[in-house]
Amino acid sequence: MTETTESAAAPPQRGGLVVRVVRFIGWTSIWLGLFLLGFVAHQLFVTTFFAQQNNAALEVQAEEYFEEAEITEVPYATPGAPEVTDPGDASLPTPTLLVEGAPPEHDAFAIIRIPSIDRLKDGWAVVEGVRRSDLKNGAGHMPSTPLPGQPGNSVISGHRTTYGAPFHEFEELVLGDIIEVETGLGIHTYEVRETIIVRPTEIWVTEQRQGAWLTLTTCHPKFSSRQRLVVFAELVAGPNFKVINE
């Protein structure tokens, strides 16, 4: 009886090399698991929490920008249209395009809304720039492309799975879906014309196009930055629609 008690109370024996290796693998797995669990929680919840807070502030900033945006009228000739030889001729009025000044880099200047996508029904602020820090709080407009509502191809990028994931449900977009972008000029309405999947280096998707287009880009597939899902949409209404399409 006494022997049994002593045996049970004895400290566990230290194992040999095999036991130490197994113990090391076990602890490493536990720490690695905790690290990965923290990573997933950070990416899915922490980044989204802060992005939503910051985006709400950016929407307010965009609305303030709408009030103070510098808007000018410039003569506009549709590519391919006959040239006006006598600008003084009142019978041939030169169409004018409404143009807003370049927004300050990294500041919010627009709000994108997509009624068919729950996450973007109420809007998401768009900032000027596509640096990593720009995209943490809003969608980013590529500065080398025209502003939304202008002729050419305006390019906006956004996160798919982290930082609020504004473009999370882009695979649900179908041809004809409406995309609205509000800027200092007013609301520009686009209609989805095409969605494609490309490599991240396929820069041709940002090239200029005839008419007024909006190109939205995001990561594809979800939870991977291996490819890009690209949505091409054409301007169908807005302050400059008639001038550009005359």
Partner: protein, 51 residues
């Protein structure tokens, strides 16, 4: 167990050890967030830019 051993290894009396532990904890947390951010941008979602 390991944390307690590391805490006891910190220099100084108990209040200094607590302050040091908090500072080290904050630095470790910031470093961890930085690593998570880098991993997220390179593995999960880079923001969808074309370049």
């Amino acid at each position: 167990m390991i944390a307690k051993r590391m805490f006891n290894a910190l220099p100084g009396p108990r209040p200094v050890q607590i302050v040091l532990a908090v500072i080290i904890g904050i630095i470790a947390l910031v470093a961890l967030m930085f690593v998570y951010d880098w991993m997220g941008n390179n593995l999960l979602d880079s923001g969808g830019t074309i370049s």
